[in-house]
């Protein structure tokens, strides 16, 4: 019998009549039925939401709970519903089966989620710039000798999650330690990770009321965005633009992350081929922190050739193969659309798909199949300039362009970038990059774009999103 995933209404399971099937991407077999919340239910529940239960737990205790939850998430059997349970290996198996992610990538994402649980003190330190967390408990205190007072601007953080990578859950998890309940809308094909994270938190002692879990449709998602005074949403550029002027919504869209090499380091380019390839392909190229462009002042031909050879070694493998890097697509039509978009772009003069000539024998097309799954092979396109339609595109597979741009023009031409790995020691160039309002995260030196440091807030500062500082003074 298919696994039943219920709704959680402030921690209380609710079995809906409307259910959404989750199927194996490889066999099409029904694996789970996920209860669907109607929008009205969400709106009704949100009228009763409260931080009271979570505020009753001091942040110091929530950090202990988080650490314990990480261990449970990683190592222990956790509840599903109706008395069913799930071991870590079962979580890996089912997530791989329904998302197309190979076991190796699920494990890597599990590791990332575990790190967020375990590193929560460091993450909060980064978010609050080292503030004593008792300020959150008490509403006021002192930071760097200055009296401070903060208050939460919402009773709950709404999160409309995507299905593409379990790692995105790391973005909302600190809200719990910040005493803000979460209202999660899992991706249609990926209820597993947010469910397991929630169960780990609850099993470690977190008040269940802190967690609402509403698998739902577009109308339900809109209800979450509407009723939560603060919400995170993941989508494409149109999603980002739709919410650009709404301070209550943090929209996460394409990252357009980049690796750039300065004039001072370009002669050493062969040393950076592995870092470039890793930036493009790690996590199956599915994250917004994967590089989607490589920007160099010279040697674009040679670098493209070397990186393409490296990327072309990555091919679909068995889901259980520990060396598997590529992920199959849960929705093959999506792979077909992306494949067409690349092929269409290549018709515009000024671009060459460098990876094409290095594809392994027997695989001639970018789009390929294995074990019933659809894959897109890593693709590197050498573009003559940034105006080419493929120069600044992001796709949900290992895809990047490489563009030759004089160093002096790089900061101005490359546009918004979630992550920039800047391989340079040129202080003036670095100052220019630091002054750029288009760079969210700057990795200086030979670090992959995918390298995340826990005390550096990622994609916006969640604390500043959820809390506002008030002025405060006391009579002497």
């Amino acid at each position: 019998m298919a696994i039943q995933i219920p709704i959680l209404r402030r921690g209380t399971p609710y079995d809906s009549i409307d259910k959404n099937p989750v199927k194996s991407v490889r066999t099409g077999e029904l694996v789970a039925e996920v209860s669907q919340a109607n929008a009205a239910m969400i709106r009704r529940d949100m009228r009763k939401t409260s931080r009271a239960e979570l505020r009753a737990v001091p942040t110091s205790r929530l950090l202990e709970i988080s650490a314990e939850a990480g261990k449970l998430f990683m190592n222990e059997t956790l509840p599903l519903a109706n008395g069913q349970t799930q071991t870590p290996q079962e979580y890996i198996d089912i997530l791989s089966e329904t998302s197309g992610l190979p076991h190796s990538l699920v494990r890597r994402n599990m590791g990332k989620i575990y790190q967020v649980f375990a590193e929560m003190p460091t993450i909060l330190k980064g978010l609050t710039r080292g503030m004593d967390l008792s300020v959150i408990d008490n509403g006021s205190g002192e930071q760097a000798g200055v009296p401070v007072s903060f208050f939460a601007v919402t009773d709950a953080l709404g999160v409309v999650l995507p299905s593409n990578s379990p790692g995105v859950n790391s973005l909302w998890m600190p809200a719990i330690a910040l005493q803000v309940p979460v209202v999660l809308k899992p991706g249609k094909d990926e209820p597993w990770s947010p469910w397991r994270i929630v169960q780990a938190f609850i099993a470690a002692g977190c008040p269940p009321e802190a967690f609402s879990f509403y698998p739902t449709d577009h109308e339900g998602s809109a209800a979450i965005m509407d009723v939560c005074s603060r919400a995170l949403i993941f989508g494409d550029q149109s999603t980002v633009e739709r919410y650009a002027s709404n301070p209550a919504v943090q929209a996460h869209g394409p990252g357009w992350s980049k690796v750039i090499i300065g004039e001072d380091c370009i002669e050493e380019w062969p040393e950076y081929v592995d870092i470039i390839a890793a930036s493009i392909a790690e996590n199956g190229g599915r994250s917004c922190i994967n590089a989607s462009a490589v920007v160099v002042p010279r040697y674009a031909d040679q670098i493209a050739d070397a990186v393409a050879k490296k990327l072309a070694e990555i091919t679909p493998r068995a889901a259980t193969d520990p060396d598997a890097i590529l992920s199959g697509f849960a929705n093959p039509a999506m792979a077909e659309r992306m494949n067409s978009a690349v092929s269409e772009g290549l018709k515009t003069p000024g671009a060459e798909e460098v990876t094409a000539k290095y594809r392994p024998a027997g695989i001639s097309d970018r789009l390929t199949h294995r074990d019933g799954s659809t894959y897109l092979l890593p693709t590197l396109v050498h573009c003559a300039n940034f105006d080419h339609p493929l120069a600044n595109r992001e796709f949900m597979f290992p895809y990047a362009s490489i563009v030759e741009v004089p160093q002096a023009e790089m900061a101005g031409k490359m546009g918004y970038s979630l992550v920039v790995t800047a391989i340079t020691r040129d202080e003036k160039f670095l100052r220019d990059l630091m002054a750029s309002s288009h760079v969210e995260r700057l990795n200086i030196g030979p670090l992959p774009t995918t390298r995340v440091q826990w005390d550096q807030p990622h994609e916006g500062n969640l604390f500043e999103f959820l809390y506002r500082r008030r002025s405060i003074q006391w009579a002497k």
Binding site: S16, I17, D18, Q36, N38, A40, M41, R43, R44, R47, D217, H218
Partner: protein, 363 residues
């Protein structure tokens, strides 16, 4: 079993429907009583309705009714000769802009709601108290519902308060993606309904599922003295019905979904139960109207019980004859049930809903 229907009852209903078909065909296609539209239509038809349509099964000889006729023809063309000289009431269909589709009528809506009133007493005793006032929160204006609900209230010894919602304005706002104004308009409408509930004695409500849900944001409906809610206008999934029954009405007020429109009248739902997983089945007000669930690829074929198909409506009254109108809905064909000795249509949803999810707006 209380709700089982005997073969004899089904047979009687079929016989009654066939006799009614013959009567209505004779009425609309006889020069002494028929309407100009149908008399003219028959002149060019490749069959003679008067001699060849003897049963409901024979209705399949008619092509599908084109609802554009209701927009393009002058209303006088639909007047049965027997009604000449009697001013008619003009009812318009729901949510389109431009020249609306219109159906003329005299008393059909009164009969539909008188019958519905008896059904409420029989199936929901005490939930729609006689003498109680009603609130009609939804599309009024030129809608059949406007007069019908008021008549229902009067038949039951109560009066009716009205709060209007203009569905055409809502559709325009949604088409223009002006969701913010649509939301404000919904709030504007629902606040008026809540104000009535708070300040006047109201025991029964007619509204749409979305407005009922929105009303709950302003007032706890059963606490306001409401004993029964009759709902219609848009599709309702079983989960929506369950949510409205169990949570918005807190199982303290009856919830009666209906399916209907200006062209048909009112199809009642079977009483809902958790055991049925709140799956709604409607039964047409036969013999005045009859519903079939048809194979969309061959609409002469009725689908089997339990199968999905497109809903086809035939309206058979002396005021209005409309054969084989293909609704924009699909449904499951359900067995006769209880007092309804004829087929029902279950889990009605917009036709092709699985392929494209239709936006039905705030009402």
């Amino acid at each position: 079993m209380k709700n089982e229907v005997t073969e004899e009852a089904v047979s009687q209903a079929t016989t009654a429907l066939d006799a009614h078909v013959r009567e209505i065909i004779a009425w609309h296609f006889s020069p002494e009583t028929g309407s100009p539209f149908w008399l003219d239509w028959a002149k060019t038809a490749d069959f003679d309705p008067l001699t060849e349509v003897k049963s409901f099964a024979d209705i399949r000889k008619f092509p599908h009714f084109q609802d554009e006729w209701l927009r393009d023809e002058q209303n006088e063309r639909w007047i049965p000769k027997a009604y000449t000289g009697r001013p008619f009431i003009v009812f318009e269909t729901g949510g389109t802009t431009g020249m609306p589709k219109q159906r003329i009528g005299w008393e059909d809506h009164l009969r539909d709601y008188e019958e519905f009133s008896e059904y409420l007493d029989a199936e929901f005793p005490g939930s729609f108290p006689r003498g109680a006032n009603w609130l009609m929160l939804g599309p009024t204006g030129p809608r059949r519902l406007r007069l019908s609900i008021e008549h229902l209230a009067h038949v039951r010894g109560g009066s009716c308060y009205h709060v209007d919602l203009d569905p055409r304005w809502v559709k325009r706002l949604i088409a223009e993606k002006d969701f913010e104004t649509a939301k404000r308009y919904k709030k504007h409408v629902v606040e008026q309904g809540a104000t009535i509930l708070k300040n006047r004695k109201v025991g029964c409500i007619f509204t749409t599922p979305l407005l009922l849900e929105a009303l709950d944001e302003f007032v706890t409906v059963p606490d306001a003295g409401v004993k029964g809610v009759f709902c219609g206008g848009t599709q309702m999934t079983p989960q929506t019905v369950r949510f409205l029954s169990e949570e918005v009405l807190d199982n303290r007020a009856a919830f009666v979904p209906t399916y209907g429109n200006t062209l048909m009248g009112l199809a009642c739902s079977r009483p809902l139960t958790p055991e049925d997983k709140y799956s709604i089945t409607y039964h047409a007000p036969q013999p005045r109207a009859a519903l079939r669930v048809v194979n969309p690829n061959d609409t002469t074929e009725t689908v089997g019980y339990g199968e999905w198909g497109r809903v086809e409506l035939t309206t058979l009254t002396k005021e209005f004859f409309m054969p084989r109108f293909l609704e924009r809905d699909e449904a499951i064909r359900r067995e006769p049930f209880g007092r309804f000795a004829w087929d029902g249509v279950g889990e009605v949803r917009p036709f092709g809903a699985l392929e494209t999810k239709a936006i039905e707006g705030v009402y």
